[in-house]
């Protein structure tokens, strides 16, 4: 019985939250990696683009709520997301047309494009804060829990409860659907294949008649979809605050690089690597050991490897280690 309790404890506090958080990071990391693989620059506006998409989602959610539309037990934001995506893609294409295109056409070095993306970051951040303000916002409605801790305890008769928030399930399901659709698109369709070819060798791709304008446009569209959904899922699960989104850029970068930048599958796994290591290393295992060990060996301290204050530092340290020993990431990067 104690063993089952210990396992449920880990499931509740580590596995489920890390899986949800990892999915949110994974979407962002694929976004970074796509931009890096095809447009060839590190996009420092990542976090703020996601916050822009989330902001539009929130605005649509409010609008639908005022109309009285709801999905019952599911959050209203789910209907708002498709509309937000349309907006977001428009914004991305607009930015590309007025900002990034010039540097791409004149073949500027990647560093310059990264600098330009910092300009975009400032502008997007300002737009978001001017429109919706810098404060913390929750836009979740519907049923909060799929399984409540108390219900779980009653059902199984265990001491430990397992609470599963519906947002966590939605996050994981949506991520899986989206990512499999994306991989199917990249691997099976002609456009996806031409994107991979373009990312692999630009000149050769151009020689074989691939239209770079189309590739770039599709990249931005996919990026817009990923940014909006990733941002909205994070906002649903936790809450929406522009500053947090800006900060999230850092673990997202870490995930993309750990997985091998330019490699979407690596980025997908990288998100989970970062999320799990953050939570595993900062969780206090005291209760876990109390269940497992005999009474005489029970630990007095919290058995915490690092204090939760260092949550971000963990992912960055992993990144630094990966950069040092395997700069191309766990999976070889640079090719879609």
């Amino acid at each position: 019985m104690d063993y089952i309790n210990a396992i449920v404890l880990l499931l509740n506090y580590i596995f489920v939250p890390a899986l949800a958080y990892g999915s949110q990071l994974a979407l962002g990391a694929i976004f970074v990696t796509l931009i890096y693989g095809i447009l060839r620059f590190a996009n420092f506006a990542t976090g703020d683009m996601m916050s822009f998409g989330t902001m539009v989602t929130i605005l649509f959610t409010w609008y639908f709520q005022s109309l009285g539309i709801s999905l019952g037990i599911l959050p209203t934001a789910l209907i708002a997301i498709p509309f937000a995506i349309i907006f977001m893609v428009g914004y991305m294409l607009l930015i590309d047309k007025f900002v990034f295109k010039y540097y791409r056409v004149s073949k500027s070095p990647p560093v310059q494009l990264a600098m330009v993306s910092i300009g975009v970051m400032f502008v997007t951040q300002a737009v978001v804060r001017i429109i919706i303000g810098p404060s913390d916002r929750r836009f979740f409605d519907g049923e909060k829990f799929l399984i409540k801790a108390s219900e779980f305890k009653e059902m199984t008769g265990l001491n430990e409860g397992l609470a599963i928030k519906s947002t966590q399930v939605i996050t994981i399901v949506v991520t899986l659907i989206l990512v499999s659709a994306l991989f199917w698109f990249l691997n099976k369709t002609k456009t996806g294949k031409s994107m991979r070819a373009y990312s692999d060798n630009e000149d050769l791709a151009l020689l074989s008649g691939i239209d770079p304008k189309k590739i770039v446009m599709i990249t931005w569209i996919i990026a817009g979809v990923l940014a909006t959904i990733g941002g909205a899922l994070y906002g649903l699960d936790k809450s929406f605050k522009p500053f947090t989104y800006f900060n999230n850029m850092l673990p997202i970068f870490a995930a993309a690089i750990v997985g091998g930048i330019g490699n979407p599958f690596g980025a997908f796994l990288g998100g989970y690597v970062i999320a799990f290591s953050e939570i595993l290393l900062t969780y206090a295992y005291k209760k876990f050991f109390i269940y497992l060990l005999p009474e005489s060996l029970e630990p007095n301290s919290l058995v915490q490897l690092l204090s939760t204050d260092y949550k971000f530092a963990v992912s960055f340290s992993i990144l630094v280690i990966v950069l040092l020993y395997r700069p191309s990431g766990i999976f070889k990067g640079k090719i879609l």
Partner: protein, 456 residues
């Protein structure tokens, strides 16, 4: 003279703007803008050495700034004796253990060939070391943090004049840069940018949460000043006489004696804070001028030419026998050290150290905007960038408010759009910075004052 006309013109306009602020808003505001402009100028000089001279991207400016600030705390605060006796020995032991660990790793790296076993042994040393250090330091840290937590709860510093911290801050930042440079400089440009950005976040996390060293988010306040205190000034005779002399014409208009005294008091209070700010301006100006002379000399020296050669064509420079790796490391350390000075200056001016206020937006990206806008590779440009961008950063709120009022003049004061826009005026600064950066990068990619290399 003619050649430098644009430099002189740009600086004259900038000074004119600050003086206009002094006339229309207040001299106090103008001087605090000017002081922060000077500090920003030091930071941009540091970033410019790295980016402009050598083409190295360093997004870790925030980390070095914070280390400079930490130096200010460690140098100027009086040591907390009880804390030292409570846990000092544990901390010192932990420090020795860290040094021992590093030496052991170095020994392993030097002595043995690269192999799997070596990697595993090093990993074991690190993990075992961390566990032992935690066991040793934990009781000490707890004991230290329990010593009067509302006031101290940390080890304190050395109780030296805070001015020394400017040098120590440079050493701290340079030391960190040495470690980072050793580790990360081999990376490609954009990887280096991300790596330095993340490492600086780690530094901030440590400063924020190691309360025994820095008091963490509880902040350290009331640092000693290198300048006189306003309260003391207001009671000194020579200062009151000085203020009286300055404002004689205004004071003479008042005939009533008590009123005249009240007016004089007001002038003294205002004057004292202006005087203190002027003291800081003087100190900062000295630093800026010294650094400017040194960096200019370096830029036109054979060393500077070599740096440009490395920047423009690494392989060719390497083929000419220049040690690219070593020079990159050197310049990384030098630039970061200058940023460290700025960090210490900033804390010196504020008189307080608030680890929570170090955010990448303000201390990394804004500095980069300054460098790009001012003109990378040109020291005068970088300093000007610091001035222009900081000025706009502060003054964009009033400008934004003015613009909002202008564009929504037709709307009623209670109209929701107008109220909303007026509330969000502080964020116009981000908009301004972003658009400014984008415009400069597009139409004047070399900055306001572009790099100009003349052979002397």
């Amino acid at each position: 003279m003619r050649k430098n006309l644009n430099v002189i013109a740009a600086y004259t306009i900038m000074m004119g703007l600050i003086i206009l602020v002094g006339i229309f808003q207040s001299w106090n505001i103008a001087l605090s803008i000017f002081n922060l402009c000077l500090i920003s100028a030091v930071m941009t000089m540091g970033a410019n050495i790295q980016w402009g001279y050598a083409g190295l991207i360093n997004f870790g400016i925030m980390g070095y700034t914070a280390l400079g600030g930490l130096a200010a705390v460690l140098i100027s605060v009086d040591p907390v004796q009880e804390a030292w006796s409570a846990g000092g020995s544990n901390i010192l032991l932990a420090l020795l253990l860290i040094i021992g660990m590093v030496l052991a790793i170095r020994y392993m790296l030097k002595k043995y060939e690269k192999s799997k076993i070596r990697t595993y042994i090093i990993a074991t040393i690190i993990i075992a070391g961390i566990i032992i250090i935690r066991f040793v330091s934990e009781p000490g840290i707890e004991a230290i943090e329990e010593v009067d937590p509302a006031k101290t709860g940390f080890l304190g510093g050395f109780g030296l004049p805070i001015i020394f911290s400017w040098i120590v801050g440079a050493l701290f930042a340079g030391g960190l840069a040495f470690v980072i440079g050793k580790v990360a400089l081999g990376l490609r440009a954009d990887y280096l940018a991300i790596a330095t950005l993340l490492i600086s976040e780690i530094v901030i996390a440590i400063i924020k949460h190691e309360d025994w060293l820095t008091r963490g988010v509880k902040n350290v306040i009331g640092l000693k000043r290198p300048a006189p205190y306003e309260v003391n000034l207001q009671q000194t005779d020579w200062f009151i006489n000085l203020v009286e002399k300055f404002n004689l014409s205004k004071l003479n208009l008042i005939t009533d004696l008590t009123e005249r005294q009240a007016a004089l008091n007001q002038f003294v209070i205002e004057g004292s804070s202006i005087f203190v700010k002027l003291c800081y301006s003087g100190l900062f100006l000295i630093v800026v001028i010294i650094l400017l002379i040194l960096t200019q000399k370096a830029l036109y020296s054979p060393w500077g030419r070599m740096m440009r050669a490395i920047r423009d064509n690494e392989e060719a420079a390497n083929a000419m026998g220049k040690n690219v790796v070593k020079q990159h490391l050197l310049i990384f350390v030098l630039g970061s050290a200058i940023v460290g000075i700025a960090g210490a200056m900033l804390v010196t001016q504020d008189g307080l150290f608030t680890p929570g206020s170090y955010r990448p937006m303000r201390y990394t990206f804004l500095i980069w905007v300054m460098v790009i806008v001012g003109g990378s590779g040109n020291n005068f440009g970088a300093i000007l960038g610091g001035f222009v961008v900081w000025f706009l950063w502060i003054e964009s709120a009033p400008i934004g408010l003015y613009l909002v009022n202008l564009t929504t003049a037709g709307l009623a004061d209670t109209h929701f759009l107008k109220v909303h826009l007026i509330e969000s005026v502080p964020y116009f600064r981000f908009l301004m910075m972003g658009i400014g950066l984008l415009l400069i990068m597009r139409y004047r990619p070399k900055g306001i004052l572009p790099e100009k290399i003349e052979i002397k």
